[in-house]
Symmetry: C2
DNA sequence: CAGTATCCGATGCGATACTG
DNA sequence: CAGTATCGCATCGGATACTG
């Protein structure tokens, strides 16, 4: 490793931690696991990380042998992918995420939600079901953020889903009206999709055949299936 | 948390990482899992960590709710123990350790072994078998370190094992002569106990009924059972 | 033994600006 | 799009000294 070693123990946890527990490293691995491969996509998932630091971390991970950097010479399609050893880190990332999902309070994290990050995150977990029309347009209106950040369109097309922030005069199929914190909680599995509709905090309009299975095509976070512990037992990190 | 938040994402991996991936924190958890509960014992397992930082980290972990601090008022037997949430971190620690055990090269870590740390680590995994005499004294002589650090005695007594650095004129039952790096490798499961004896790098003397089952009472690291990948595939962290 | 307060120096990191 | 170099400051953490 290019960086200086801190722990210098023969214990494998210490060795792993020397680089895995560097700032941002676990989250970079998460981005890769979520499917991002390009520098800009990874960066988009880590908006509070400086690009220069991301560059350094990726380089370290490549040097160590966790990642590979392909197509870096031709100026097209450069991408970071896991090596075999890197792929083996998936359970490490997942189990740490699952622990957090189960044990941590959510209140601090839903203050000051980064809207773009949330929508980016949602998009990559949507399910372009064959049953849906092509294209299938969903307009999400966030009713509690500044107007210029409120509208987002999910464009299900050709078995893929695009995210758009500008109104292209879409022929909208389904309209969703919701607060950004509520949306986060639903997407994370912290609150129930249907009960949000029933209590009126989420308004969803469109042909019933699409709205009634909205939770299917909308998707959820990859840890949404992990149940949280009772609120009184949750930790305030 | 008293410290400032870095990631500020609603992602549970990010939330967990806010404190789990602080410097030294994973290793503190390891110490607790290895059975240490007192400040000094924990510190002994982390010789390169300053006590003031350990103090701060423990305080943070207590504040978050991962640890409890018992008996801190009376000046006796103060101890740190896991809460329910903290105990649930065991798989997180283990899986990260197991990944390291499987995938990382060992060469950097066996340069400059901290002898006291190794012996401390060995002691807490020894097995005081009922079959052994009481007391049962093992003298370990490290043949490649400065003379004043070479001798260590394991004292199996009353179903417990003590570690001693001073010759108390012990009535030694078993004598072990070995290099410190070789000892580390055997203890970590990186090399085989018996083959080390056969190739002469480890000399063990005493009644055959004790020496032939030496690997049983000597014990091994808690990740020694995880097999390493082929050397050519290992990562240089 | 079981910590804690203070001090100050190293370095990690973000901001900015730049290249191909 | 895909990074990299430089600069300067904030903060992290080690050393030291101290307390109960």
């Amino acid at each position: 490793m290019t960086a200086k070693l801190i722990y210098r123990q023969y214990c494998p946890l210490a060795m792993s931690s020397e680089f895995l527990c560097q700032r941002w490293t676990m989250l970079i691995l998460r981005e890769l696991l979520e499917g991002s491969t390009s520098f800009n996509d990874i960066s988009r998932g880590l908006p509070r990380m400086s690009r220069s630091l991301l560059s350094r971390r990726l380089k370290e991970l490549v040097e160590i042998g966790v990642l590979e950097h392909k197509n870096k010479n031709p100026d097209q399609n450069a991408q970071y992918t896991f090596t075999q050893a890197g792929k083996a880190l998936e359970p490490v990332v997942m189990i740490m995420a699952e622990w957090g999902q189960k044990w941590l309070t959510v209140e601090p994290s839903v203050e000051n939600i980064d809207v773009d990050l949330l929508m980016w995150d949602i998009r990559r977990h949507t399910n372009p079901l064959p049953f849906l029309p092509n294209p299938f347009i969903v307009h999400i209106f966030l009713n509690d953020v500044p107007e210029n950040m409120a509208s987002h369109w999910l464009v299900f097309e050709n078995n893929d889903v695009d995210l758009c922030h500008i109104d292209r005069n879409f022929d909208v199929d389904v309209e969703i009206d919701i607060g950004v914190r509520k949306l986060t909680k639903i997407w994370m599995g912290w609150e129930d999709f249907d009960s949000a509709i029933n209590d009126g905090e989420m308004i969803i309009e469109g042909p019933k055949k699409y709205t009634k299975i909205a939770s299917d095509w909308f998707g959820q976070s990859s840890v949404a299936h992990i149940k949280k512990i009772a609120p009184s037992l949750r930790l305030n990190y």
